[in-house]
Symmetry: D2
Subunit: 261 residues, 4 copies
Amino acid sequence: MSTQKKIDFCSDVGGSFGKHIIGEDEEVIQYITSANIDCGWHGGDPIIMNKTVQLAKKYHVSVGAHPSLPDLLGFGQRNMECSAFEIYNYVLYQLGAFNAICYVNDIKQSHVKLAANLYHMAIASEDIAKACIDAVVQFDPKLVFVTFAGEKGNAMTEIAKKNGLAVVREFFPDRAYAPNGTLVSRQLEGSLVSDPLEASDRVLRAIEDNKVKTNDGTDIFIDAQTICVHSWQEGAGKMAATIRSELERHGIAFTSMINLV
Amino acid sequence: MSTQKKIDFCSDVGGSFGKHIIGEDEEVIQYITSANIDCGWHGGDPIIMNKTVQLAKKYHVSVGAHPSLPDLLGFGQRNMECSAFEIYNYVLYQLGAFNAICYVNDIKQSHVKLAANLYHMAIASEDIAKACIDAVVQFDPKLVFVTFAGEKGNAMTEIAKKNGLAVVREFFPDRAYAPNGTLVSRQLEGSLVSDPLEASDRVLRAIEDNKVKTNDGTDIFIDAQTICVHSWQEGAGKMAATIRSELERHGIAFTSMINLV
Amino acid sequence: MSTQKKIDFCSDVGGSFGKHIIGEDEEVIQYITSANIDCGWHGGDPIIMNKTVQLAKKYHVSVGAHPSLPDLLGFGQRNMECSAFEIYNYVLYQLGAFNAICYVNDIKQSHVKLAANLYHMAIASEDIAKACIDAVVQFDPKLVFVTFAGEKGNAMTEIAKKNGLAVVREFFPDRAYAPNGTLVSRQLEGSLVSDPLEASDRVLRAIEDNKVKTNDGTDIFIDAQTICVHSWQEGAGKMAATIRSELERHGIAFTSMINLV
Amino acid sequence: MSTQKKIDFCSDVGGSFGKHIIGEDEEVIQYITSANIDCGWHGGDPIIMNKTVQLAKKYHVSVGAHPSLPDLLGFGQRNMECSAFEIYNYVLYQLGAFNAICYVNDIKQSHVKLAANLYHMAIASEDIAKACIDAVVQFDPKLVFVTFAGEKGNAMTEIAKKNGLAVVREFFPDRAYAPNGTLVSRQLEGSLVSDPLEASDRVLRAIEDNKVKTNDGTDIFIDAQTICVHSWQEGAGKMAATIRSELERHGIAFTSMINLV
């Protein structure tokens, strides 16, 4: 008897700020199993956070904090040479703020995913990874920690595990990969995969063959338990719907990442 | 056998922001029993909050969040026509952020005091008071809520009590009072009492006779269980030291507000 | 021989902030004659400002600064109890920043319109109006100053004229008016007129009969030389297109406000 | 007949933000000939800028913009991976805002000095240097541009000159130099020279022998026409006073940088 493959489907949501409403959150959230919710430092604000948590609750989607660098102007998408101590405190602050909003909505925070370039900085620097993970462990060691699938994510994954966190590894169907295993920078041409069917095929290959084709045509190894669509990217609703239905058509089942660790 | 009078002595501390270091926090904190710690919206940032919580812990001082309006440029000292729903979410966010920082330092948040003009807005508007109190009650109903001593603070006090919060009422020795019972605005002449001995006398009279002389020479009724010195005001260290020693000389004892409710 | 009626058609544009892109600027800007461009304090940022100025230049639209309160989170739509001196300096700073961006694009700033609640605060308070007008006069007395049409705008208009500024008075076709002549607050039901044909009829009546029907059915007097559509409001492109074509069909001509003073 | 050596003495001033007052501006400004004034992005705000311009005018000190990265929390002291286009627009915005404040005070902006890590980023990257210089040239090609003395500043200096700007080269008496010619990072031990007499000796040697001793004891070449003291650093008033009197005692004369180009 064969076991059905199960993955988590997550999305970065709650990116609006005040009257600056962006993203197709309500549509995307219907197709996902985990929501990574902005905490007000690169996107989001207390009201948006509250509404997004309620939206996730309505659709039975797990919620996690999506803490970031203090860069609303850059949407967190620019490296900042912060110290580990700065990053530790920034993450801690955002975890607490997000947790309060979950608490009053009677929903439990299930995971944490670092946002935008804080995520990339943690991939590139063990000190930054450790600072983030320290904040998570000290705040709540039961939170699932989202790391980057593939070889480049190994260091961050190991630090998280060594410090006692359960991890899920994440694949980005809507982003191009470089041969070195990193995402192609959004500043460069061809950084996005915008065709939903192509993105779906990439997920299937990542899940079934553990491979993704990079932008020079070579394959790299991918070991993902979750896939991510950015809700604020154009066409996100259609992208999420297509990936969900294509994968289900191929026999993949979806479940929250808390069931995968 | 006579019972010794006991009061709490609190201070608004942790107002620095990044490299913008202000206030005589380390000196003031040695004389107080409760610290109202800024939460990053009008003053404070995650690192300053962490250091201030550690400072309070070192001197065995109770800690409470000091949430405010989103107005760093105005240090929270300008009314903003926010809705009750906005205020509720802003307070909740800051409570959570502050709580996380207390938690990792193994110190329990004991109270909440609204900051600057959010405090004054809550005194003036039952809707705003209710929004703040809702956030506190839903987040942690065991938190002591600081309200304004005197008749003007009655409405806010009643709403807090009706919603199940323990309250302590607060007197400001370093601020002039208007005959209507409000503080004289900082924008006006004569809003400050800067002589530490005069401030001490005002506290003694407030505690022993339940009276404070307003700026037109008349007395109003004051029922305070805590007194507050603003750490970021010039001469705060000397002010706190003098009040503490003068009151002890007159037989007043100091204890954290958590012991007064 | 009859003279053709001429009016200016303006829009509040450039409200995006970083990656938080909002508004139908490129569509709206094709139908207007003057662009009120956000200056980074409630919307806009230096890049958005630059792109919006270039967009206006491309479509031969006059440009003016749209300075606001320091409230990005509230999109400037909340009164803040700032002093006149604060407001004066805030407006001055934004005028200069905007002017630099016009200058390098070889386009001359033609006018100034206060943004959101700074506009409403200046309508309600002569001190605030005077502070804003002082900043404009001292920076460049040749700038046209946009004031509020109808009786409520008289005080601001008089202060501007007395201080040497040319003014144009502004009517809002997409907003409901209260009997007292103010706009119905966006916080209330029925504050918006979202049907483009209804809005067009309101403009025609305001221009030809100097009247607008308020939300209690009574008429008030309106003396407008410019009409405004908010680009960031849903359906703004269609609204602007409809008003433009409807008014032209009725023989109204459009010209930049600099030709009307 | 010998010619007296003449240098400019500048200071980074106006770093306060709202009620967060920092720096010994009024004392320092009495000893300097040029003031580099923060523009509200890492320090300063419109009111502080206005007051600082007036202070400089009172003491007949030249004024220049001190534009920075959008990082108030980090006081501009952290590299941010901004694009050249972002930096160009950020600098332009701040130049314009500052210029408006000079203009209404009837004082002419004389120079520009990049602030904190924007300065260091421009030293390290020709693209960033070019973006900043483009903004300055397009806004006002008569502004004197402050570059970094010594070999490390050559690239930035050459780009400024090639684009038509007059430059003065700057030495930091209160900062340690690394053997490679950069300043020792403030994050490291021994980055500051806090003894005013030692700092004065360093200036004398830099001016007379074109040498500064680095933190490994070796000398590097320095060709400075201006020296800088940071007003917000502890002891800045005494530092500025001592350097001024020590240098005058050794026959060095002080004049604004506008007289040196």
